[in-house]
């Protein structure tokens, strides 16, 4: 059961603990004043990786081997030298794509010692030594279709979801905003663009079904049923039963199919949670009422969960990495752009406010 929660914010990293009688409180903080764009806590090891996004001085990686008591600065995923004369520009706006890590947007663990890291402007990196060094996955970066990717919320494309198949860690699937869903069966040496059935209404009609134009905001995989994937897409909620090759859109999701975050139950592939928002021009809770939606039957029906959540004048937006479920599938946590943090101990039936005064929350993760 998740008794501890890491919260990465625009002004530091925090740990929230269950203090007793179901009350959660802030235990400690690290890196106060610095944006923490991504965290990865490896279960049972005391290892925590934290990605810092320093406004002036670039992206940094910090690593702890003793559960946060001590941190050391670790290697940062960095791009190789860009060949002289190479034209690499955003296909629509003409901006020169920097061969330089601008934001660490996803971290995932693979086989022992293996880490994956997705960044803006669209690079995927792999480490086989626990983060001591990183290598750009050239097969994906050099794929000519990568140059058709475009920014989603940022100037340049980024990889925000990395799904390592628990049955075969060489099978890796990534989600790109904006560039669709890509999968590799050989630890990144070869890649296939997948995503039949996705729909991008923001593109001209004849390109709406093109897998390359899709904007998955977040993709998650059910650990116990790895072929079941859930996606919060820019255009709605999608589900896949074949590891992301084909998707089915779930319509009539109320109060909105728009949002960024999704979480799936660790053992029940039909149970998933979303935090909806008014699409997509406004990005605030519908009617100022903050709710979580939950399906328990594979998307046939969605429940609206609002107990304990503000139901008037709430303007909290929940980013794509700011919702998490614990390893038992009972406790959930989510944090918002206005610095509010909520935890549920009953799969979202009721929510407890931990704080309304944290910095804007970028990511949350239960620590097993």
């Amino acid at each position: 059961m998740g008794d501890r929660l890491l919260v990465g914010t625009h002004k530091g990293l925090f740990r929230i603990v269950r203090a007793g009688e179901g009350r959660w409180e802030i235990e400690r903080s690290w890196f106060l004043g610095d944006p923490v764009s991504m965290i990865l806590a490896l279960p049972g090891s005391g290892r925590i990786h934290a990605a810092l996004d320093l406004g002036h001085f670039g992206v940094k990686m910090q690593r702890s081997r003793d559960d946060g008591n001590n941190w050391i600065e670790a290697s940062v995923p960095a791009f190789p030298d860009k060949p002289d004369g190479l034209e690499d520009r955003d296909p629509f706006r003409g901006l020169e794509i920097p061969w330089s890590t601008q934001k660490i947007w996803s971290l995932a663990a693979g086989m022992p010692g293996e880490l994956w890291c997705g960044v803006i402007p669209g690079g995927l990196f792999r480490s086989t030594d626990g983060g001591d060094s990183w290598t750009l996955i050239r097969a994906l970066w050099d794929d000519p279709r990568r140059r058709q990717w475009m920014g989603g919320g940022f100037d340049f494309a980024g990889i925000h979801s990395i799904l390592v198949d628990p049955r075969d860690p060489a099978h890796v699937t990534v989600g790109v905003s904006v560039g669709g869903v890509w999968t590799s069966d050989d630890s990144g040496d070869h890649w296939e663009l997948i995503g039949e059935g996705l729909r991008s209404a923001y593109m001209p009609p004849d390109q709406a079904a093109d897998p390359l134009t899709q904007d998955p905001h977040r993709i998650v995989r059910c650990p116990a049923h790895p072929d079941r994937l859930w996606m919060q897409h820019h255009n709605g909620v999608f589900i896949s039963d074949d590891g992301g090759r084909r998707w089915r859109e779930l319509e009539d999701v109320h109060p909105s199919g728009f949002g960024f975050a999704v979480a799936v139950h660790p053992t029940d592939p039909d149970t998933a949670w979303f935090v909806p928002a008014q699409k997509d021009e406004q990005r605030i809770p519908v009617d100022g009422r903050l709710v979580v939606t939950r399906t328990r039957n594979g998307g046939e029906r969605f429940e609206i969960l609002d107990t304990g959540l503000p139901q008037a004048h709430a303007y909290d937006l929940v980013y794509r990495h700011a919702l998490d479920v614990d390893d038992q599938g009972e406790r959930l946590a989510f944090g918002s752009t206005t610095g509010s943090l909520w935890i549920s101990e009953d799969q979202g039936d009721a929510w407890q406010t931990v704080s309304h005064h944290l910095p804007p929350i970028l990511c949350v993760q239960f620590q097993a």
Partner: protein, 89 residues
């Protein structure tokens, strides 16, 4: 010899003492400095070796001209300061 100094805000993240090296360009000055304090490099330069977007390098009171290749010439008494650009927040 040309001198190199850093904003005190950078010392919060990594040690970066003032130093002087025999160098004819900013690139040479940085190379000498980073050979002694390699951790500082990533705070000042991006992956391609250009000055980070929100970092300013002042050379004798003027902004560095060649932020990509750092080819600006230095005199024997040049003073180089690395400061943060307020555009970065």
């Amino acid at each position: 010899m040309p001198t190199l100094s850093f904003t005190s805000n950078l010392t919060r993240h990594t040690p970066c003492p003032d130093a002087a090296f025999d160098a004819a360009t900013v690139a040479q000055l940085f190379d000498c400095y980073f050979s002694q304090w390699p951790d500082v490099r990533g705070y000042v330069l991006d992956d391609q070796g250009a000055v980070r977007n929100h970092v300013i390098v002042m050379v004798d009171g003027r902004g560095l001209h060649d932020r990509r290749r750092l080819s600006d010439a230095l005199g024997s008494e040049s003073e180089v300061f690395v400061i943060q650009a307020l555009s970065g927040g």
